[in-house]
């Protein structure tokens, strides 16, 4: 690893640091990821997070990873990704900047890491302050016996005068309402008239009033006569259409007369 390349130059890893890293390894499951571990490591520097030495921190972290390897402890992938990145960062920080190289400087990267650590620490502090606040149900309380709002659904029935009158009218005239089919006896249908006319048309050699063709029982009652007259007239028209009869009316309101057509 990069560790070896730079160890001999500027930063021999102090024994204390190696021991600290070893102690942390025991607790590796207790860390919430590499950033958390870095934050814990940074505390060993005993300085304000703003003045942390990222270089030193990188070294501490790499030592930790080395130790874990030596102890054959499997580290989660993100710890190794962080290790690789920190090794890269370390090289950036130690080597003089290469003007041909693209991307952010080692200082920029280090500053951002420091910012992340400071921000994480700040959030931890906030979380602690938040949880230490007076809390509902622990330090202050809501009403123990709440009186719930009862939602009363009231159905208000309504009707207007028209409804009332129509209801009454409906009731009082119910007897007048007869389903149409029930009154078929008062109706002489066109089919019936046509059948009847076809049977008798052969005899109509001379002009005959179609009224004389009305069936029995349909001549006296007004309703029945009206119905039979209409259907017989329609049937007569049908026969004319078929070319079997002729119709004539000498003047307005005069009888309609029918004659066989040969």
């Amino acid at each position: 690893m990069a560790e070896d390349t730079f160890d001999d130059s500027a930063d021999p890893v102090p024994v204390a640091e190696r021991l600290a890293a070893e102690a942390l390894i025991v607790d590796v499951d207790g860390f919430e990821g590499p950033l958390d571990l870095l934050l814990t490591l940074s505390r060993t520097q005993k300085v304000d997070l703003r003045r942390i030495s990222v270089l030193q921190l990188a070294r501490q972290y790499l030592t930790f990873v080395e130790q874990a390897r030596a102890l054959r402890i499997e580290l989660a992938a993100d710890y190794l990704v962080m290790a690789a990145w920190l090794a890269f960062l370390k090289s950036r920080l130690l080597l003089p900047p290469d003007p041909a190289e693209e991307g952010p400087s080692g200082e920029d990267l280090a500053a951002h890491l420091a910012f992340q650590l400071e921000r994480l620490q700040a959030m931890r502090d906030c979380a602690a302050r938040l949880m230490a606040r007076d809390r509902l149900g622990r330090d202050f309380f809501a009403r123990g016996l709440p009186e719930d709002v009862t939602r009363r659904r009231e159905v208000r029935y309504t009707a207007n005068l028209l409804d009332l009158m129509q209801a009454y009218a409906r009731l009082r005239t119910r007897d007048e309402f007869r389903p149409f089919v029930m009154d078929r006896d008062a109706i002489f249908t066109m089919e019936q008239a046509l059948e009847r006319l076809r049977g008798v048309i052969g005899e109509a050699a001379t002009w005959t009033d179609i009224a004389s063709y009305l069936p029995e029982g349909f001549t006296t009652d007004r309703q029945r006569r009206r119905s039979a007259t209409a259907s017989t007239f329609a049937a007569a028209l049908e026969l004319v259409k078929e070319g079997r009869a002729e119709l004539r009316q000498t003047e307005i309101f005069a009888p309609v007369e029918l004659r066989r057509k040969d």
Partner: protein, 222 residues
């Protein structure tokens, strides 16, 4: 009883000032899920407190407020003032058309009052359900009239002032008769051929409706 906090600090066992005790029972009663008696209160309060006295002060403080201190059995509880109960209710009013059965029953009562249930059933041709009558009674559109002087002395129904108000009528007599209904086009019955009664056939029937039976006076006469 110590009056100021300084003295309280001097002795560990001295009770807090009464105002403080009042605050304490106020908080306890507010948060409690059931009524609490003075023994319970004392058990929770610092040594030397007198919840009974604090209660007297608290009760006075809440007099006439939106919340009152009430005694429930041996315990005490805080309750919203009874006169403000309406605030704890949210009414959702839904308007629905009266059912056909109800409107027909109502119409018969209006036109024929005072009318017995049997008479209503005779006119409607179906039995009148209890629910329908109850609904109309509840709406205060009908009420019980005098019993009929007929065998069994059945109860009668009549319409109410509320009914008249709702329908904008001076009296049930103002209800139009059948002939008027027909003239106004409110009767949409077109009798089929053959059943059309002669003009005037229905008059007899109409008279019934137009001139309410004498019983009407019972309701509107006095």
């Amino acid at each position: 009883m110590p009056q100021d906090i300084d003295t309280e600090k001097e002795s560990l066992f001295e009770a807090p000032p009464m105002a403080e005790q009042e605050r304490m029972i106020e908080a306890m009663l507010f948060a409690a899920t059931e009524p609490m008696d003075t023994r319970e209160m004392a058990a929770r309060m610092p040594h030397g407190c007198d919840p009974a006295e604090a209660l007297v002060h608290l009760k006075k403080r809440y007099e006439g407020r939106g919340v009152t201190l009430v005694k429930v059995g041996d315990g005490w509880a805080m309750r919203t003032a009874p006169d403000l109960g309406f605030l704890m209710r949210r009414e959702v009013v839904e308007t629905r058309k009266l059912s056909r059965a109800a409107i027909e029953t109502l119409a018969i009562i209006a036109y024929h009052q005072p009318v017995t249930r049997a008479e209503i059933e005779e006119i409607r041709g179906v039995s009148v359900s209890r629910g329908t009558v109850d609904q109309l009674l509840e709406m205060e559109w009908i009420r019980f009239g005098r019993r009929k002087m007929t065998p069994g002395r059945p109860v009668t129904f009549v319409v109410t002032e509320t009914f008249l108000d709702h329908f904008g009528l001076e009296s049930a007599r103002d209800l139009p008769g059948l002939k008027e209904l027909r003239a106004a086009g409110l009767l949409d019955n077109r009798p089929p051929p053959g059943t059309l009664p002669g003009i005037g056939d229905g008059d007899e029937e109409d008279e019934d409706a137009e001139v309410p039976p004498a019983g009407q006076d019972e309701l509107f006469g006095d």
